[in-house]
């Protein structure tokens, strides 16, 4: 292949949302690399303005179908923070369990339906045949175990209906949870098998680029309730400080905002979480991680998929432990009054750190809001990774090189719908 | 009629299909179980609940003569799901029959009278058995008149019958269409316009009306103007039906069940029914 080449991948497939990649190679080096998000803006920050706090989580959960529970939980946390109320124990319990469900659903779909076809040399899962079909069944089974959590606890597999700031409108009975537990137990082995599959592929990847990992940190492997935000460069922040370190900016070719942390690109997501929190992984997940041939944490973006697989094991195991102790409480419907204030919610979504903040007026209506979403934080890294990766694969035939680039993008599990939520435009 | 015939769809085979008009076909149907076919008898104006398995069960009037019961004919317009599934069916295909239901026209009572048939569009289908039964026993009835109106001439049903009937002794057949076409030499306009063209003598007459609601409405008004009394007018109604036996209550009109009390109503009964409820 030539030293000068233009790549233009339109409508990158098997990612959530619409994006193109324009990449120019000149003299063997990447001259320009533009990850163009073509999804139209979605204005969520403005749409929640004037809405009563009780309705906000249900609106922002529609930012993303894949990680709706994360948005819901983050918004709920932020609003509780603003109102300075303590949610009921039951609510906290169910929220946390729902996040496990969401991670299982999201990771299973991404790994099997979107990434695996690349490694098996197929265009899509629809073309799987023979033994590969078993993998589809496995994927659907794991995913079902995850969505079953969400359905039992939240009413349906996407866009949970019963979580409210402060409480849940209805908690499931023990019997429903029992069914969920059976489902989870039945996919334990499949989750472990996922790690083996992705270990096999990860160990072949040699590409590395050193980056900054950023993730939430707490007592357990934190999906929510993290106490602080850690960074692999050593920075430790409280959630109130986050906004000072994250800078959002707009690039002229994309509808997604980009972000920098301490003025540099950074990475959030499964790999970052494992890098910073591997000690808190469930022992079973830890054990399986240690037995992998690919050693984590590393700085190979392709390892994200392995990290996701390990999280899959972690979430299945932790969800089992967690839900096993479930006791339905008597329903509490506290009367929560509006109150002015500002609140911040930070959680880990399947794709990484998620940050919402809301200003409420005295009656509890939203006056201002901001959201920082995982994919937008990774976009910069995706581009920089491609800058480094592309020169090493120029010897490949063009379609193969393009596939490698797509693979890299997909490994980040970008979620474009999320990334185009914004309204406030701050031109660079 | 046995309980089975009325309460569960009994298999029946399509033995003949005839294109009647655009989107309208006449299906000749026979019960698969011959005993059922033998048990079948009906008066004109009765209807079947016809099952197109998987597509639904719909009320369809019998359009063949009650004097000939070794098979029945159903004339059906393609308007929706069930009828659309039926139309491409072939001879030998199986449908389900439940019934027959309804009261039918009491043609026994009409003996020795002048009979006026008024029909519009596919309303000719339920009326045809009555015409056939009366023509079949021609001597028992006096003067016959048929008014038949359609949208276009190609939509006229039973063209052979119409031709045959116009040859029947003392049977005056008059036709009209809403939209004239170059090949149409007859009348253009609504069916009630024809009334003045026939020499109707209301005294000893009975009128039977089948057609769309508006047509029934105006036909009754016009007939009354000529001198028909409510008791001399009979019309057949249409309503949504799901059972045919007065149980599902869909066809209930102000307490009257179109399926069991009707579908044929006398003018006196109709006067009491709020047909188009506000």
């Amino acid at each position: 292949m030539h030293k000068n080449e233009d790549f233009c991948i339109k409508n990158i497939t098997k990612i959530e949302g619409h994006a193109n990649l324009d990449l120019k190679v000149r003299g063997g080096k990447v001259d320009s690399c533009e990850f163009r998000v073509t999804e139209s803006h979605r204005f969520f920050e403005d749409m929640v303005k004037g809405r009563h706090f009780s309705q906000v989580p249900l609106i922002v959960s529609r930012i993303c179908g894949l990680c709706s529970s994360s948005h819901l939980t983050t918004a709920t946390e932020a609003i509780e923070d603003a109102l300075q109320i303590q949610p009921t124990e039951q609510a906290m319990f169910l929220r946390e369990a729902s996040l496990f469900g969401e991670f299982i659903k999201s990771h299973a779909l991404h790994l099997y339906m979107l990434v695996l076809p690349d490694y098996l040399g197929k265009e899509s899962v629809l073309q799987f045949e023979g033994n590969q079909l078993e993998l589809v069944k496995d994927a659907l089974a794991i995913k079902k175990a995850g969505t079953d959590i969400l359905t039992a606890l939240g009413g349906r597999p996407h866009h949970t209906v019963n979580h409210r700031p402060g409480y849940v409108t209805r908690a499931p009975n023990r019997e429903k949870v029992e069914n969920v537990l059976n489902g989870l137990r039945s996919v334990r082995d499949l989750a472990a098998q996922t790690v083996l599959i992705f270990d096999k592929y990860s160990k072949k990847q040699t590409f590395e680029r050193k980056t900054n990992f950023v993730a939430l940190k707490g007592d357990d492997y934190p999906l929510m309730n993290g106490r602080s935000i850690h960074c692999s460069d050593g920075t430790v922040l409280g959630k109130n400080e986050l906004s000072k370190h994250i800078k959002e900016f707009v690039v002229p070719y994309s509808t997604a905002k980009n972000t920098e942390f301490n003025g540099k690109d950074y990475v959030v997501g499964a790999l970052a979480r494992i890098a910073l929190n591997s000690k808190q992984l469930h022992p079973k997940a830890k054990e399986i991680m240690d037995s992998c041939e690919t050693k984590l944490p590393n700085h190979c973006p392709f390892s994200t998929n392995l990290a996701q697989a390990i999280e899959l094991v972690h979430c299945v195991e932790t969800a089992i432990d967690h839900l096993d102790g479930y006791e339905p409480h008597k329903a509490e419907w506290p009367d929560i009054q509006g109150k002015d204030g500002n609140g911040i919610g930070v959680t880990e979504a399947p794709r990484g750190l998620l940050y919402h903040t809301y200003d409420l007026n005295a009656d509890g209506f939203v006056t201002d809001s901001n959201m920082v979403i995982p994919t937008q934080q990774n976009i910069r890294s995706i581009e920089l990774d491609l800058n480094d990766l592309v020169p090493t694969i120029l010897s490949m035939p063009k379609p193969k090189a393009e596939l490698e680039m797509e693979k890299l993008i997909r490994s980040y599990d970008p979620c474009i719908s999320c990334s185009v939520h914004f309204l406030k435009v701050n031109w660079l | 009629m046995s309980e089975k015939m009325l309460t569960e769809p009994c298999q029946a085979k399509i033995v003949k299909i005839k294109d009647e008009a655009p989107e309208t076909k006449t299906f000749t149907i026979k019960y698969v179980d011959e005993a059922l076919q033998k048990a079948l008898h009906f008066t004109p104006g009765k209807f079947f609940m016809l099952s197109i398995f998987g597509y639904g069960e719909i009320p369809i009037s019998i359009s063949s003569s009650p004097l000939k019961t070794d098979s029945v004919e159903l004339t059906i317009v393609d308007v929706g799901n069930a009828t659309h599934a039926l139309h491409p069916m072939k001879e030998g295909d199986i449908v389900g029959l439940r019934g027959p239901f309804g009261n039918g026209f009491p043609i026994q009572k009409f003996r020795n009278k002048d009979i006026v048939f008024v029909s519009g569009g596919c309303g000719m289908a339920p009326l045809r058995p009555a015409v056939k039964a009366i023509v079949g026993k021609r001597s028992e009835y006096k003067k016959l008149t048929l008014f038949y109106g359609c949208k276009r001439s190609d939509q006229m049903l039973f063209k052979e019958d119409l031709k045959e009937w116009s040859g029947v002794e003392n049977f005056n057949t008059l036709f009209t269409v809403d939209e004239g076409t170059p090949d149409w030499k007859g009348e253009v306009g609504v069916v009630t316009k024809l009334f003045g063209k026939a020499d109707l003598k209301p005294e000893n007459s009975i009128a039977m009306i089948v057609g769309p609601p508006v047509m029934i409405h105006f036909a009754i008004i016009e007939l009354k103007k000529i001198g028909f009394k409510e008791g001399q007018i009979y019309a057949s109604l249409e309503r949504l039906m799901h059972c045919g036996m007065g149980k599902c209550a869909h066809c209930n009109v102000a307490g009257t069940y179109v399926c069991t009390d009707g579908p044929v109503f006398s003018g006196a009964e109709l006067a009491k029914l709020p047909l188009e409820e506000k």
Binding site: K10, T13, M47, I59, S68, L109, L140, G155 | -
Partner: protein, 248 residues
């Protein structure tokens, strides 16, 4: 035996939750693939923009010229077009934008990279739509029912049935009597009264029924002393404001 139906999945501007519900068919998905062939779907497959389709399933609303062109092009090559989920059928949550102040819209457009339309349009407002499957996200059982029906040549219609009917079938206590404003009486049924069964009010994600009595329901809410702003919020959650006057 009829031929396999050729289907495509498309998403315009939305959260893609509706496309994901397809995976919720789980084992039924594999069954459905016996009579439906997915020939074009970006999320699980490559792009096949020239395939002729029997049925195009479109999620998301029309936000930009790009969306509009894409949708028209899909319409062109499909026999049936299904609007799938609230964004596509009634503009849904993104439609909240339609009621934002005009100045804000203008400001937005001057800066947008992909020119956005001043409003979000649901699919039926842009192209002829054969079927709508309501819900946010849409419901798998309805999708499967539709696919089965179409396979057999049946065309289902959306009837004006309110959520309350199903709510009562599931024997829930009515939230209106607990002081919780619920949109069940004016919203299309089909979700088996999912939210009220979870003791959460219906927020109208399946769209307002054609013969809804909004005025009567608003009166009922007022009787419960619900804040006017919350009432307004509720009626404009997923739906365009039914109380909007001409020209507003």
């Amino acid at each position: 035996m009829a031929k396999k139906m050729r289907a495509g999945f498309y998403s315009l501007s939305c959260c893609e939750g509706c496309e994901l519900v397809v995976f919720d068919l789980e084992e039924k998905l594999l069954k459905a693939l016996e009579f439906v062939e997915i020939v074009d779907a970006r999320l699980f497959d490559g792009n096949h923009p020239n395939e002729k389709l029997d049925i195009a399933i479109v999620e998301g609303g029309v936000q930009s010229e790009l969306d509009k062109k894409h949708l028209e092009e899909i319409r062109e090559r499909s026999t049936y077009l299904v609007a799938f989920g609230a964004c596509a059928t009634i503009a849904g949550i993104p439609g909240i934008r339609n009621s934002l102040p005009k100045e804000m819209q203008a400001k937005l457009n001057s800066k947008a990279i992909i020119p956005v339309k001043e409003k979000v349009f649901p699919v039926p407002a842009v192209v002829k739509t054969d079927f709508v499957l309501q819900g946010c996200p849409a419901f798998t059982h309805e999708l499967l029912d539709l696919l089965v029906a179409l396979y057999h040549g049946k065309k289902p219609v959306l009837e004006n049935i309110p959520v309350c009917k199903e709510c009562k079938e599931r024997e829930n206590p009515c939230l209106l009597f607990e002081g919780i404003p619920c949109l069940g009486p004016v919203t299309y049924a089909g979700c088996k009264a999912l939210c009220p069964t979870e003791r959460a009010q219906c927020i109208g994600c399946r769209g307002f029924t054609e013969d809804a009595n909004f005025e009567a329901l608003r009166k009922r809410f007022r009787k419960m002393d619900v804040d006017e702003r919350i009432i307004h919020n509720l009626f404009t959650y997923f739906n365009q404001n039914p109380f909007k006057k001409e020209g507003e």
